[in-house]
């Protein structure tokens, strides 16, 4: 650790964020290391260390001989000011060495509001933020995560986007780098070769041209780069690295517990959900592997809490026996087993009752829309009956707080749908009146609405976002429709959702806007205490970019979208077909009921999505005759 830090750390909030030294941090002998990687998360330590992807990549890279992967998080502004004042560049937590001297800097991009932190961290590392201005010796800057699927707004700053799951492609990327070093490649030569690896997108190898109306006219690859870059997936999750032996932070983080990933992908296909499509197809892990990894992770961490974390965990085929087996261990060791992302159905409620060791006082559901018509339009397969039945179950169990999450501004939404939210909440209230074990303690129903952001790689990628004024009007409408004192209404400010909508479907012309906003002080934009919409509007103005071009405009099918050259495996024609189904309020069955031929199966070597048995289970079944 830089000795100057000893003087700074006593003055900053939560200094343990900046020291490293946690149990199981990886230290390596620099003499045996030929490749150094700074794994950066553009938010604070507590959030970054809670990210399972970061932990997986940390393990995968450090398992490679000669590679030392270190962590780096965005310093909170108090620490940043101290570092800048003392002239301390951004450093890796493990070695304390400046990351500007490393071979790679990799960012995990989970949300658009972290983009300014990416620039800020590059700057703190002492590097030019623009890729074109970084020299031969500067680290290669890579970015992965959900936002990388449309990384165009960051194209000026990033050398390589890594699309999809990083377990395999990261290793290939680093091995190619070693090969290039042996052969004496320049950075440009390395990037050209890297672009040939599936899943690696080198934005500088693509020329984007625009029509006069501002829409993209063409995206043309150069130097042999592929026309379409397809994301990577892990074929057999059972065989993939899982961090049972991961770092245990010495300070409290957001998800301070074991996170056990049951499967990747989601069978559901809610039409607004980017994760649901970007992580297709569904690939489960064997129950046996999960039990073993779950127990091992608890044992080796000392955590007394485990979360079964997947997009829609109750869709895990063998959830019940899995929970039983884990409970055998957890019960004995006083470990709480949690199942978030609960569906409102009888099966999930049954599992939940089994998991909880004491009465649950509060429960959360996300019906997303207030009427059946709109829920059908967004393909959220939750009926009012399901929801009220689930509420009845928990009320009979003594629960007296329900949280309900909705979105406002979904395509086809009418005032009737908005008022429907209030009506649904009221029905939940009436259900409580009828079935509560005791009404003495009252009930608290919290309704929360967020502002819908159309995302790329969803059925709604062509839709306009409603204006902030219209969102506010709908908020007021809903507010005035809620008259019951037991129902509390919270709504999100529309500012960040508006900006998110700009960047989620943005193109390369947003690069200068991000840079301008960052130079005028934008950072930690996902934190309300730092977010300032005026600063952003000023940046749009200064760069001559109209944010409404990205938010308020419905795109025709023929339009070349800024991410047209990226594939998550799902065919655009399928997205479009499903979009039209949304307008008819026609629901689409989930992948288990019927394959709708979205195309994601082509990513699988076996060609079968969500196989009922994993390879391991098939082999075992065969061996047992």
């Amino acid at each position: 650790m830089d000795p100057r830090l000893n003087r700074i750390l006593p003055r900053v909030q939560k200094p343990a964020r900046y020291t490293g030294g946690e149990y199981r941090e990886i230290q390596k002998d620099k003499r045996q290391v030929d490749l150094r990687f700074a794994l950066c998360f553009p938010d604070n330590y507590e959030i970054g260390m809670s990210n399972l992807g970061v932990r997986i990549l940390y393990g995968v890279m450090n398992n490679m001989d000669g590679v030392w992967c270190e962590r780096c998080f965005a310093p909170w502004p108090d620490m940043e000011a101290e570092m800048r004042q003392a002239g301390i560049p951004l450093y890796g937590l493990e070695s304390g060495d400046p990351i500007g001297t490393f071979d790679f800097i990799g960012f995990s991009l989970g949300y658009e509001m972290a983009y300014t932190n990416v620039l800020n961290m590059l700057d703190l590392a002492g590097l030019p933020v623009r890729a074109a201005e970084r020299g031969e010796d500067a680290p290669i800057v890579v970015a992965g995560g959900t936002c990388a699927y449309n990384g165009e707004p960051l194209a000026d700053f990033v050398d390589i986007f890594s699309l999809g799951e990083g377990e395999d492609v990261t290793v290939e990327m680093l091995e190619l780098y070693r090969k290039g070093r042996q052969l004496g490649w320049s950075k440009a030569e390395y990037l050209r070769h890297a672009a040939q690896i599936q899943g690696l997108y080198v934005p500088s190898l693509y020329d984007v041209t625009y029509h006069e109306d501002g829409t993209v006219s063409a995206i043309v690859p150069r130097d042999g780069a592929p026309e379409v870059i397809t994301k990577r997936i892990v074929q057999e999750l059972d065989d993939a690295y899982f961090p049972t032996d991961t770092i245990i932070p010495s300070t409290e983080i957001v998800h301070d517990r074991v996170m056990l990933e049951l499967f990747r992908g989601c069978i559901r296909g809610c039409r607004f959900c980017q994760a649901g499509f970007c992580y297709r197809p569904v690939r489960p892990k064997s129950r046996e592997v999960l039990v073993q990894q779950g127990i091992e992770a608890c044992r080796s961490s000392g955590y007394q809490e485990m979360t079964l974390s997947s997009l829609s965990s109750s869709d895990y085929r063998q959830l019940e026996p899995l929970c039983d087996e884990l409970l055998d261990y957890c019960g004995e060791k006083n470990i709480n087993l949690n199942l978030p992302s609960l569906r409102a159905d009888g099966f999930s409620m049954g599992i939940m009752e089994k998991l909880q060791r004491s009465r649950k006082s509060s429960i959360t559901f996300a019906p997303e829309a207030g009427t059946q018509r709109l829920r059908d339009a967004i393909n959220k397969n939750v009926t009012e009956d399901d929801l009220l039945q689930s509420c009845r179950t928990v009320f009979e169990g003594g629960c007296n707080a329900v949280k309900l999450y909705f979105m406002l501004g979904l395509p086809t939404e009418t005032d009737e749908d908005v008022v429907g939210i209030a009506e649904l909440a009221n029905k939940v209230y009436l259900t409580w009146r009828q079935y509560a074990v005791s009404r003495a303690r009252g009930i608290r129903i919290t309704v929360s609405t967020s502002f819908f952001v159309p995302k790329p790689f969803t059925h709604f990628q062509w839709e306009a976002q409603i204006s902030m004024e219209e969102y506010q009007r709908r908020v007021q409408l809903l507010r005035s429709s809620i008259t019951n004192k037991s129902i509390i209404y919270n709504w999100h400010d529309p500012d960040t959702s508006f900006l998110e909508a700009v960047f989620a479907r943005g193109d390369r012309r947003l690069g200068p806007v991000i840079e301008h906003a960052w130079r005028s002080g934008a950072k930690f934009d996902s934190w309300s205490e730092y977010f300032n919409l005026d600063r952003w509007m000023e940046a749009f103005g200064a760069c001559g970019v109209d944010p409404l071009f990205y938010t308020a405009r419905e795109r025709p099918y023929e339009e070349v979208l800024p991410w047209s050259h990226i594939s998550v495996g799902v065919r655009p024609a399928y997205f479009w077909r499903e979009r039209n189904q949304a307008y008819q309020s026609v629901i689409t069955p989930d992948c288990r009921v019927k394959c709708m031929g979205c195309g994601a199966d082509r990513l699988l070597a076996c060609g079968v999505c969500d196989a009922p048995l994993t390879r391991r289970e098939r082999e075992e079944a065969q061996a047992n005759g």
Partner: protein, 225 residues
């Protein structure tokens, strides 16, 4: 008052671990016991975890080689095995030095010996040490200590009865203070000596002070365990 815990760990907190807060340490040890496979008496209630308590919380950023953690072994782990097993699973900078049965309650801790290193980047000014010692060589030195509870926003505290001994040594561009100070009811944080000196001694303006807790003492100034 809870009755005395049966067992104790003596541990050091140095280097990068100095920045682990007391609360975080209280989370770190129960997990470490589990990792080490050492069975420890649990708290009651829904979220059960190892029942531990740490005597005299150390300020953030200070180092120490004499921290005391109280707990109760319930399994059959031999006490002598505990330090090695814990050290294998603790964060860097936290080291268990000893594990033993408690004899006397921690409320008998009366004093702490501190070593504080005051760094003067431009070299130690002549006379700075003398000025410092002279400040405390008096019958009473009442200072105002900020307090949220007090109506006036501060309380008055006489430092002198809480100081048992002070000695200074010059080491390069630093002055090293060895101080034996009251530990509790009330205790004296050595930082107060330096903040007071900064206000009242024109020559004594160190650029940075490092605080190190060196020993825990009883009322007879013998080592407390």
């Amino acid at each position: 008052m809870a009755k005395m815990h049966k067992h104790r760990l003596l541990f050091a907190k140095t280097g990068r671990a100095c920045y682990i807060s007391h609360l975080d340490l209280m989370r770190t040890f129960p997990r470490a016991f589990l990792r080490a496979g050492i069975d420890v008496k649990q708290t009651e209630g829904f979220n059960q975890h190892s029942f531990v308590s740490i005597a005299l919380p150390l300020s953030l950023g200070y180092s120490s080689v004499c921290e005391i953690l109280e707990f109760e072994l319930v399994g059959d782990t031999p006490l002598c095995e505990v330090p090695a097993r814990m050290n294998a699973v603790l964060p860097e900078g936290i080291r268990v030095l000893d594990c033993y049965e408690a004899q006397v309650p921690v409320k008998q801790i009366a004093a702490l010996r501190w070593v504080c290193r005051a760094q003067f980047d431009g070299g130690v000014p002549a006379g700075a040490g003398e000025q410092f010692l002279a400040l405390f060589d008096t019958d009473a030195l009442v200072i105002q200590k900020p307090s949220k509870k007090a109506k006036k926003g501060f309380t008055e505290l006489d430092l002198i009865p809480l100081i048992h001994s002070l000695s200074l040594e010059e080491r390069g561009s630093a002055l090293e203070l060895t101080a034996v100070l009251a530990a509790q009811n009330p205790g004296l944080n050595p930082e107060l000596l330096f903040s007071t000196a900064r206000e009242r001694c024109p020559l004594f303006r160190p650029d940075f002070v490092e605080f190190h807790r060196e020993e825990v003492l009883n009322a007879n100034f013998e080592v407390f365990r």
